[in-house]
């Protein structure tokens, strides 16, 4: 299970133009919404078939709060992969770090679950990249997952339809909304999570050469979306309003 700490979706995003980054002051950071579906799925699989759920996150010390949440939801173990680089938008860099952890330290697993994307960077590329590096099957944007012995089938969303994908384990799955209904943490879970230690893995102990983790995609500019000009608001009676709207669609929008 791989999760990320992100500003909640209520956040207004302000840009610091000097540093070309998001102004984090006053933002409330949470477990990325799609990750909740991944955590829930992992817990349900454990409840049905046994096994152990370990949650990983690549991030700063503050990331421990969302790892605690995952523990409170019922995960057995949480591990912080400490990286103070902040948001790089470089999905390959994150994927390399995760893959290295799985190759060197936590080598036994049947399933790697991710949220389909982090809310914020909106990359949606790390799961496929991890699958590529580890040479594993992948199914992304999954709304239904079934495992049977050593094989699985997953339903993924595509434009106006769905695909049923079959694969063998171990595999990489990324969770879409609809996969399940994430549970809330229980008080008992929160208390138990407080007592659990969160081991920290450093990039140095993973044995990376410094150039391996250079950011390969360069942020040249960050800007706010262009402000929309206020349009025309009418309060006519419905028949008249509908007529004006139809006229607007024909004359101005030119879609009909």
């Amino acid at each position: 299970m791989f999760v990320k700490r992100v500003p909640d979706t209520e956040s207004k995003i302000k840009i610091n133009h000097e540093t070309n980054s998001i102004n984090e002051e006053g933002l409330n950071f949470v477990l990325s919404p799609y990750d909740e579906y991944a955590v829930e799925e992992a817990l349900q699989i454990k409840e049905a078939k046994g096994g152990q759920v370990t949650v990983f996150s690549v991030g700063s010390e503050e990331t421990k709060t969302i790892l605690k949440k995952c523990l409170a939801m019922g995960a057995d173990e949480a591990v912080l992969i400490n990286d103070d680089e902040g948001e790089t938008f470089d999905g390959l860099r994150t994927a390399k770090i995760i893959a290295k952890v799985l190759k060197t330290k936590y080598t036994e697993f049947d399933l790697l679950l991710f949220g389909k994307q982090s809310v914020g960077a909106d990359n949606a590329i790390v799961p496929s990249m991890v699958a590529a590096i580890l040479d594993l099957p992948q199914v992304t944007v999954v709304t239904k997952l079934e495992l049977e012995g050593n094989t699985g089938s997953a339903h993924r969303e595509i434009e106006g339809a769905g695909e049923k994908v079959i694969f063998s384990l171990p595999a990489v799955i990324s969770a879409q909304k609809g996969l399940n209904e994430p549970r809330y943490e229980t008080l008992k879970g929160i208390m138990a999570a407080k007592r659990k230690e969160i081991p920290v893995v450093t990039l140095a102990e993973l044995g990376f050469q410094s150039e391996e983790l250079e950011v390969k995609i360069e942020l040249t500019k960050m800007e706010s979306p262009p402000a929309r000009e206020a349009g025309k608001i009418i309060e006519d009676e419905p028949g008249e309003a509908a007529k004006k709207l139809a006229e607007f669609l024909r004359q101005d929008v030119k879609v009909i």
């Binding site: 979706t9 938008f89 049923k164 909304k177 390969k216 960050m222 009418i234 028949g239 929008v253």
Partner: protein, 325 residues
């Protein structure tokens, strides 16, 4: 060379891939690079002329029976050898479900990063610069690449198609070396969703319902509008989806889809910040809502303060009248 991946569905090249090819052609002329296309699958060579019509000077064919159904690992495997051999400076995909699934797998195999879901490309001193929404559109970020090929996916429905021309180019068939065990994730079947022909990410017009729709049965009113309006799709706000009035695949916003259609029509949508982020880059926005203070009116080009149930029936008639003229 700018290489473009041609996504094939139901024996046709997807429009979003032709949009990417059109953009590659435009940018390529500026950057003195030719635009070329690659088709992956089985029996796909018949589609090459379509790629030539939209600006490809070369079309590479990767044909193998093992690739007849989409598989991210299998398709990436086939594309790795081609990319390493012909070394395109830029490799572009459409940001569709397939493009977003396949391109990062390929990028990681090639050891490069990727900028997904871009809405603008530019020539920056001979290098590609792309702009993309982050935080579902609450901000935009531009990127250049330090590795080659420079890889990006482009959002459907944003880049205009070029005028197709009757042009011929070079079709190059490449042998695909692939073993069955390298196809690790196979699409066993495609399940059509009920009554959803067009996805919101691909539509020119989106007709969206929010909490003001009051119940699942009333979405039929919006379906009737999508039946009248050309190339349109049905959207929904998060509250309508969470109330289980409509399936999540229709959801627009920060935990749904980010869209940029020509026209976005919001009925009974208040306009929460997460929703506005996902649709504010629409070209035109129309809103109908009872509440004059609804935030949606702040981004609307045309707003009606009123009861959507009273506005939609006469609107349907007016639209039919105009369309029959």
């Amino acid at each position: 060379m700018i290489l473009v991946y041609m996504e094939c569905r139901d024996g046709k090249i997807k429009k979003s891939s032709l949009e990417v090819l059109s953009e590659a052609k435009r940018r390529g002329e500026e950057m003195s690079m030719e635009a070329s296309a690659v088709l992956v699958g089985h029996g796909v060579d018949a589609l090459a002329p379509e790629a030539f019509r939209y600006g490809a000077s070369k079309v590479f064919i990767l044909d193998n029976t093992l690739l007849s159904r989409y598989s991210p690992s299998g398709h990436a495997q086939a594309l790795v050898s081609l990319t390493e051999e012909i070394k395109p400076e830029i490799f572009l995909f459409a940001a569709t479900s397939m493009g977003k699934d396949l391109s990062p797998r390929l990028a990681a195999r090639l050891g490069v990063s990727l900028a997904p879901d871009c809405i603008q490309t530019a020539n920056k001193d001979g290098k590609l610069e792309v702009k993309r929404p982050i935080f579902a559109g609450k901000a935009f970020a531009s990127f250049t690449f330090k590795t080659s090929p420079q890889m990006a996916t482009l959002r459907p429905n944003v880049f205009p198609l070029i005028e197709p021309v009757d042009s011929q180019g070079e079709t190059i068939k490449k042998e695909v070396v692939i073993r069955e065990d390298q196809v690790k994730d196979k699409v066993a079947e495609v399940v059509k969703a009920e009554g959803a022909d067009l996805d919101v990410t691909e539509a020119d017009i989106i007709v969206t319902g929010g909490r003001g729709m009051k119940g699942p049965e009333n979405f039929d009113l919006l379906r009737e509008l999508t039946a009248i309006l050309p190339h349109s799709a049905l959207g929904a706000s998060r509250s309508a989806v969470d109330a289980e009035w409509i399936d999540h695949q229709h959801q627009v916003g920060q935990t749904g889809k980010t869209v940029s259609p020509s026209l976005y029509m919001a009925f009974g949508v208040s306009g929460a910040i997460q929703h506005l982020a996902g649709m504010s880059s629409s070209k035109f926005i129309v809103a109908v809502n009872k509440d004059p203070d609804a935030p949606i009116f702040k981004v609307a080009d045309f707003g009606i303060v009123g009861d959507l149930f009273q506005v939609i029936p006469p609107l349907k008639e007016e639209l039919k009248k105009i369309l029959s003229e």
